[in-house]
């Protein structure tokens, strides 16, 4: 498959792995955070950690749109969906997120009209086809998906589509990164910057990380070689004592972002004073709501939204996992009470969630993996990858 296979070339990976290993100072531990859940998914799906020396730890960050939605917000959505004549629409990822009374899937089985869409524009189609219903789109995601919600709002307004509204849960990445940088729990050496978010916001917003916190940032693509190369670029910065924002994903990410998309967001949405994030708590100016001008399409104004606050189940440690303080398997209920089939926490729901990625792809007996690699290496008569 052209333009994909080139970025999954095992030979190039071996060469990069050797260069990364050469940059690692003996005895020094490196902690690099991949902010974006898409990167977490790639890392596990392709077994990328097998290429890294043991002294480099990848810490999974908060950039998983579904993972950061607090339980109360799911309950609010469920309440909206249960209103008379409402058709609730959302992305597939959202369907299995547990609220305190089950997920959208469970509500659907009980008869609530909840439909999965691939694009918010599909919700518009449903609204046009069902003029006697009120269609609500549950908008989630970072700056990556906000432009498509913005365009949908503009379209709905242009058409005067009175039976369509947006339940806006868009969040912004920078305040979350700042919260992590200010958290005393975690010492990080650098960041693999979120590629998709950056296609919209560009690279400038990360400059404070290098300038004020002295940490290198490399905005990365989503193929395994992209990530490996970004790790190499971070390690090179660390070896040379530099802290800069670099763009590995320049084939897609413009340094200044996408002005058309940013303008559409700015036109239809504004920052909320504060928003609750699962695990990270309330973060000021960290989320978007629909602007007054588009109030007619804002579900939070059209309907009574209870604004439920629900504490996460005590045993659930998604917060610590989202902040990178805990590895997924260090959570007490990981893989036993909480599985992708019956998730308690959001990190186990989305394919981009660190727990789901680790459970589905990485749940391997590392010792045995190491032993197998060692045996293979002995057969080849060389040191092997993991040695």
């Amino acid at each position: 498959m052209r333009f994909v296979d080139e970025f999954r070339d095992a030979e190039k990976a071996h060469a990069l792995a050797a260069k990364i290993a050469a940059l690692a100072e003996p005895g020094r531990q490196y902690k690099l955070m991949e902010v974006c859940g898409g990167h977490t998914h790639t890392i596990y799906k392709h077994g990328l950690e097998d290429y890294l020396p043991e002294t480099i730890t990848l810490v999974h960050g908060p950039g998983c749109p579904v993972c950061v939605i607090p339980m109360g917000r799911v309950d609010d959505a469920m309440h909206l969906a249960a209103q008379p004549d409402v058709i609730m629409t959302s992305f597939g990822d959202m369907m299995r997120v547990p609220g305190s009374n089950g997920s959208f899937f469970d509500a659907k089985a009980r008869g609530t009209d909840i439909r999965m869409v691939y694009s918010p524009l599909d919700s518009l189609k449903i609204a046009r086809a069902n003029p006697d219903k009120r269609v609500v789109f549950m908008a989630i995601g970072f700056e990556t998906t906000a432009p498509s919600t913005a365009m949908t709002l503009l379209r709905a307004a242009a058409e005067g589509l009175g039976n369509f509204s947006v339940f806006c849960n868009h969040v912004t990445i920078i305040p979350a990164i700042k919260a992590i940088l200010d958290s005393p729990d975690l010492r990080l050496d650098g960041f693999i910057g979120p590629g998709h978010v950056s296609t919209v916001i560009g690279c400038r917003p990360y400059e404070f990380i290098a300038r004020d916190y002295g940490k290198p940032v490399v905005v990365a693509g989503f193929e395994p070689l992209d990530i490996l190369q970004s790790i190499y670029m971070l390690m090179a910065q660390l070896a040379e004592g530099r802290a800069e924002v670099e763009n590995q994903y320049a084939r897609v990410v413009p340094w200044d972002g996408n002005l058309v998309a940013l303008r559409a967001i700015g036109q239809t949405m504004e920052l909320r004073p504060y928003f609750e994030w699962r695990g990270l708590g309330f973060i000021s100016h960290s989320a978007l709501r629909v602007r007054d001008r588009y109030a007619a399409f804002d579900a939070e104004r059209l309907f009574e939204v209870p604004g439920v606050r629900v504490a996460d189940p005590k045993a659930c440690q998604c917060g610590e996992v989202l902040k990178g303080v805990l590895k997924p398997w260090e959570c007490k209920v990981f893989g036993t009470a909480c599985t992708p089939e019956t998730p308690i926490g959001t990190c186990m729901v989305s394919p981009e969630g660190a727990c789901a990625a680790y459970y589905n792809y990485g749940r391997m007996h590392r010792q045995r993996v190491a032993e197998a690699a060692g045996a293979a290496a002995a057969n080849r008569g060389d040191g092997g990858l993991l040695s």
Binding site: M1, V4, D5, R8, D9, A10, A13, H14, Y44, K45, H46, G47, L48, E49, D50, Y51, P70, G92, P98, S100, N101, G102, F105, D106, K108, A109, R110, Y118, D122, P224, E276, G279, G281, R309, V310, A311, P313, A315, G319, W329, V333, F334, G335, T336, A337, P340, E341, T342, I344, P351, N360, Y361, G362, R363, M364, R366, Q367, R368, V369, A372
Partner: protein
């Protein structure tokens, strides 16, 4: 963090209670000797998960959700907890694609399958082709020669008779191609809105003429695993045929009867341990069934698994893994070590197996777990599918 104090109800509370009980029972003897380092702790967690996965499955939902029909974990749980529990008998317990029974001097295979695919007509076939081929294939991979089918139709008020005729003609042609006869049937009509056009159930009987004993539980370390051709064609075709995605690609369903291919393999290769047709849940689900039933590990190589470029491309765009996408004319075979080349040659000599490949092996390590060597050079797990990316695929 938040002010709320209301504890989550339902199954979350139940799951946590169950978790606490198991944690209390504890396994103090299991604390590893040696260094209590990170790896050991991770190992202990993984062991704990293995134990949790071996526990008897329970259905936590109080209603059927779409996941229960997806052929993945939830389907398995439902079948084991409800149906196996209710009907338990030695013929059902192996949970193979077809039951193997003895009537007088004959060994027979019996199977049944229902078809709810949407849309009813798609590139490469229609629900009628699936209804014949799907049931024929369940018999074929059980080592039987398919002979007779039944056909039950549930029709929605208002369904065009012309469409029904097209479906019946497709079934006639598919039956002729597979060498089976439709010998009995049933027709029911429900009110408009109570069904979606046309659902079909077929049951099939075949004769097991060879003295073979097949079953995924027979897999042994060292065995080779083969697939009979490129995977995922049917699922991706259906997904695109629904027209919801605005993607066009030149792909058609692989629906086909596998009886000839299966018979050729059994005749030429005495060391065939098991065959399965890779329908709902795809090849990944079959590999997991092998690992779980036989208590072995499975190691496959991504580079060796045949996937058409158009299928890979569409799957990549949609964020789905072809390993989980349904096929309707492909099978997975487990053969004894040493007979892999012979099996491959037989499959490739058949028109339906031209692109067959050896994709991996059965191992003694990591019992119950399927591992994949990625094309990128890493290793990962391939687990049973959770959730339903694509309902009503067949």
């Amino acid at each position: 963090m938040t002010g709320g104090s209301e504890a989550p109800g339902g199954w979350i509370a139940e799951a946590l209670r169950e978790h606490a009980e198991h944690a209390e029972q504890g396994q103090p003897g299991e604390a590893r000797a040696g260094h209590p380092g990170m790896t050991d702790r991770e190992q202990q967690v993984l062991d704990r998960i293995d134990r949790a996965r071996r526990r008897r499955p329970r259905v936590r939902e109080d209603r059927i959700t779409m996941s229960h029909g997806a052929g993945g974990k939830a389907t398995h749980t439902l079948i084991e907890a409800v149906f196996l529990e209710a009907f338990r008998n030695p013929l059902l317990e192996p949970m193979e694609d077809a039951a193997s029974l003895r009537l007088g001097d004959s060994r027979l295979a019996l199977t049944t399958d229902s078809y709810v695919v949407s849309p009813l007509f798609f590139p490469g076939g229609c629900i009628g082709d699936l209804a014949v081929n799907g049931t024929v294939n369940d018999l074929a991979v059980a080592g039987a020669t398919p002979r007779f089918l039944s056909a039950g139709f549930i029709l929605e008020e208002g369904f065009p008779v012309a469409d029904l005729s097209r479906i019946a003609e497709a079934m006639r042609d598919a039956a002729a191609a597979a060498g089976v006869a439709v010998v009995t049937g049933d027709t029911k009509v429900v009110e408009r809105g109570k069904a979606d056009g046309c659902y079909i159930n077929t049951a099939g009987v075949g004769v097991i003429e060879r003295g073979v004993a097949l079953g995924v539980a027979r897999a042994r370390p060292g065995d080779a695993i083969l697939v009979s051709g490129p995977i995922g064609d049917h699922g991706v075709t259906i997904m695109l045929a629904r027209g919801e995605l605005d993607i066009e690609a030149d792909i058609s369903s692989d629906t086909a009867p596998l009886a000839g291919l299966a018979a050729a393999l059994l005749d030429a290769v005495p060391g065939v341990r098991a065959m399965r047709d890779a329908t709902r849940g795809g090849v990944a689900t079959i590999l997991n069934e092998i690992a779980r039933s036989a208590g072995v590990g499975v190691l496959v190589s991504e580079d060796d698994i045949p996937v058409r470029p158009a299928v890979r491309g569409a799957a990549e765009l949609l964020g789905i893994d072809p390993m989980y996408v349904a096929c309707e004319g492909r099978m997975v075979a487990v053969v004894e070590a040493g007979q892999a080349e012979a099996a491959l040659a037989v499959l490739r000599a058949h028109p339906l197996g031209e692109q067959a490949a050896v994709i991996g092996e059965v191992t003694g390590e990591s019992p119950g777990i399927v591992r994949l060597k990625t094309a990128f050079g890493g290793t990962r797990i391939v687990d049973l599918l959770v959730g339903d990316p694509l309902p009503r695929i067949c």
